[in-house]
Point group: C2
Chain length 401, copies 2
C-alpha cells in the first residue's frame, strides 16, 4: 500500500487535472500484482515533427507510466493532416502527402525515443481505422453525441458568440479523436489542459460503444516558452527544440527567468520533488546562487538529449562566452581572397543585416575585432585572421588570404 501511494505521488506530480484517478491506480496495482499492462495514448500532429520541451513534459510523464505497466501509443494523427486546416485559422497549413506524413513520423520516432522506452512504445497512425469509416459508420458515431454537448466546448462557445466561423469539420474532429480511443481500447489518454473536452469525448464514446471502460484523462499543464508568458510553440519562436544543438539548448535554458526555472524544474527535471524543494530553499537562503541552480537544470536537460560529454562542453562554452566574456571555441568562419570592408564582412557573415546597420553598430561601439572595440566605419581587413564580435554573443572568424 505504501508502494502504490509513492507511485501515485510520482505519477500525479506536475499534472494539472486527472479524471479517473482511481482507475489509474487500479491499473498500476494490477501491474504490480500480476504484471498486466495497460494502454496509454497521446496524439501528435504530424505536421510539426520538431518536438520541443513543451512536448517533453507529456512524453516524460508517459515514460514514468512506462515504469509501471503502460504500453504507450504514440498516435500520429495522420488522417486529418492529409486534409489541411478547415478552420481557416492557419492559411499556411497545407495538406500533407502520405509520404510527408511517413517521413515526419520517422523524425518523430527518432526524437521521442530519447524520452520514451522504445520497447514499451508503439507508434500508430489513426488513418489505420479512420480511413475505413464510411458514411454509415460516421452517422453511427455522430448519433452518440449531441450538438448541445459539442457546443459546450469552450472555444466553440466563444467563437460562436464572437461570430468567428466554426466549420462543420471542426465539429467532427473531437468525435474522431474520441473514436481513436475506441479503436485503440485506451485506458488513459494524455493531453494538455486545452484537450480536456476532447479527452472527455473519448470517455463518452467508449461508454457508447460498450467498451466496458472509460479512459482516464490525464492532463499536463502547458509549458511556458522562453518568454515565461506564452505557451511554448514553434510559431511563437519561444521554444527549445529537442533536436537543438547542445550549445543552443544549454544557452536557451540559461536565458529563462529565475521564476520560470522552477516551473521547468517541476515539469522537466528528473529530480524528486523533495530534491527540488531543498534546492529552492537553498537558493532562498542565498546558499546557492540562482544562476548555479539554472546551470544544473540546463546541464541536466542538455545531458538528457545529448549525453554528458556534449552537455559539459556546452556548459564550458557558455561559461566562456557569457560568464567570462571569453571567445568561444567554435564559431562560424569565412574566408576572402582579398581585403574586405569591415561592414561588408559583417553582412556576409550574417552578423548584421545590412551595411548601414553595420555602420551604426560600429559607431555605437558594438563591434570588436580581436576583442578590441573598433569604431572606424571605413576599416578594411587586410591579410590575416580576425575574430569579429558583435554585441556579447555573435562571433565570426574571418580569414583574408
Amino acid at each position: 500500500m505504501a508502494q502504490i501511494d509513492e507511485i501515485m505521488k510520482e505519477i500525479l506530480r506536475g499534472s494539472s487535472e486527472v479524471i479517473g484517478r482511481e482507475y489509474i491506480q487500479s491499473l498500476i496495482q494490477k501491474y504490480l500484482d500480476r504484471g498486466e499492462h495497460f494502454v496509454v495514448k497521446a496524439g501528435f500532429d504530424p505536421t510539426a515533427p520538431d518536438l520541443h520541451l513543451g512536448h517533453v513534459v507529456l512524453l516524460q510523464k508517459m515514460s514514468v507510466f512506462q515504469k509501471y505497466g503502460a504500453k504507450v501509443i504514440f498516435l500520429i494523427g495522420d488522417f486529418t493532416a492529409t486534409i489541411g486546416d478547415p478552420s481557416g485559422k492557419s492559411e499556411t497549413r497545407k495538406p500533407l502527402t502520405q509520404e510527408e506524413v511517413l517521413q515526419n513520423a520517422q523524425t518523430y520516432k527518432e526524437q521521442v525515443f530519447k524520452v520514451l522506452d522504445p520497447n514499451k512504445t508503439e507508434v500508430r497512425f489513426n488513418s489505420e481505422w479512420l480511413s475505413l469509416l464510411n458514411l454509415k459508420d460516421i452517422l453511427m458515431l455522430c448519433s452518440k453525441f449531441s450538438v448541445a454537448r459539442m457546443l459546450e466546448r469552450d472555444d466553440f462557445e466563444k467563437r460562436l458568440k464572437n461570430q468567428n466561423t466554426i466549420s462543420m469539420v471542426e465539429f467532427l474532429y473531437p468525435l474522431m479523436q474520441g473514436y481513436d480511443s475506441v479503436a485503440l481500447n485506451c485506458d488513459i489518454e494524455f493531453g494538455g489542459n486545452d484537450q480536456k473536452f476532447n479527452l472527455l469525448v473519448g470517455r463518452q464514446l467508449q461508454r457508447a460503444y460498450n467498451l466496458n471502460k472509460e479512459q482516464s484523462a490525464f492532463m499536463m499543464p502547458v509549458l511556458e516558452g522562453l518568454d515565461g508568458a506564452q505557451k511554448m510553440s514553434k510559431s511563437l519562436g519561444n521554444y527549445i527544440s529537442i533536436t537543438e544543438n547542445p550549445k543552443d539548448m544549454y544557452a536557451k535554458i540559461m536565458s529563462i527567468s529565475d521564476l520560470l526555472m522552477w516551473r521547468y524544474y517541476e515539469l522537466l527535471s528528473h529530480k524528486t520533488f523533495s530534491e527540488i524543494q531543498h534546492l529552492q530553499q537553498e537558493v532562498q537562503k542565498n546558499n546557492i546562487h540562482p544562476k548555479e541552480a539554472k546551470e544544473n537544470l540546463a546541464l541536466e536537460i542538455t545531458t538528457r538529449f545529448h549525453g554528458q560529454e556534449q552537455a559539459q562542453y556546452a556548459q564550458d562554452e557558455f561559461r566562456k562566452v557569457f560568464s567570462k566574456r571569453e571567445i568561444p571555441l567554435e564559431m562560424p568562419s569565412l574566408s576572402f581572397k582579398e581585403p574586405i570592408w569591415i561592414c561588408r564582412a559583417l553582412v556576409l557573415g550574417n552578423m548584421l543585416s545590412s551595411t548601414s546597420e553595420a555602420r551604426r553598430a560600429l559607431e555605437a561601439g558594438a563591434v570588436r575585432i580581436n576583442q578590441e572595440k573598433v569604431q572606424d566605419i571605413n576599416k578594411h581587413l587586410e591579410k590575416g585572421v580576425y575574430i569579429l564580435q558583435v554585441g556579447k554573443r555573435k562571433f565570426l572568424k574571418v580569414q583574408i588570404d
Copy 2:
C-alpha cells in the same frame, strides 16, 4: 414572350416560395428554344410508401414542369432509412432492410406514375453516391459549411433553446441532402416550406463544389388534412391515400369543409386558375351549391386515380347513402348457421367494437334493421336476410341460414 409568361404563371400557381425564379424561366426558355432538358429533384422518405394527396401537391407541380422540359428525379432517401431515427423523435422508426427499401420503392413507383409522366421520370436512390463516401469525402463536405449557419435552421435553433436534444447526426442530414443535389447536378429542387433550409444548403454546396449553377428552390405549401387544421399526414389519420379505394376517396373529399375545398381546388385540381375563380363566384352568387362544387372536385380527383367509370360509381354510391339516405349497392356481408343476438352480430360485423357499445347504440336509436329503427337490446335475428345500419354510413348484410 407571351408564351413564357403564361407558362410561368402556370408554373408558379400555388407555390408558397420560389428562390431562383429567373433561373427557372431561363431553363424553360431554353427548352422552348432548343429542346434542352433540365433536372428537377424531389426527395421522398422510403419509410412511408403510401402516398397521399399531400404528396400529390408536389408531384402534380412536377408533372407541370415535365410539360416544359423537366426530367424529374424521384429521389428515394434510402441511405438514411437503413439507419433509423437518431433524433429519438420517433421511437418506432426502425431501420429498414435493403429489401424493404426496394419493396417500398416499387410501391412508390406504382403510385407516382399516376401523376408523373414515367417517360420523363427517373427513380433514384441516394445510397448510390452516399454509400461511396468515406470519412475524407465527408470532411470535405463538412468543410463547406459552418456550424453557425447550421444553427440558423429554425427547428435546430428552437430545440437548442428548449434544451431538446439534437443529435450530431441530424447536423449532417442537411449536408447529405445538399450533397444529393451536387451528385445529381440538379437544376431545381422541390420541397415543402419546412424544407427551405435544406434546399438552400443544396444551393450553397453546388457553389462550393464549383458546379457553376445554383439550383432553384421550389416550395409548395403543406396541404391541410381532412380536418382543415393540421398538415395532412398518415400519423394524424387526416389523410387521403392515393391508393384509397374510389368510394373512400370520394367520400373523404366530400367530408372536407367548404373553405378547405377551395384550397384543394387551388393545389390539386387541373382546372385553370380562371375556371376556379369563376366557380367560386358562382357559388358566392348562389348559382351553384357548394356541395355541387365539392362533388366536382371529388369526381375530378377520384377520376385521376381510378378512372372515370369507378369515380362515377363512387359518386353514385355516395349520393345514395349520403344524399338520399338509400342503401348502398355494396356492403360487407356475414352469414350465421343459427339465430344470433343483435349486439353480437354488430360486433362480429365490425360495426361496433363491443356488445356494451352496441347496447348503447341501440338504446340511442342509432341502429336500423332493414331501414327500421330498432331499440330492443335483446333482439335476436332469426332465419332470413337483414341489412343492419349503424349511424348514417355503416352497413352490413347479415344472413341467417
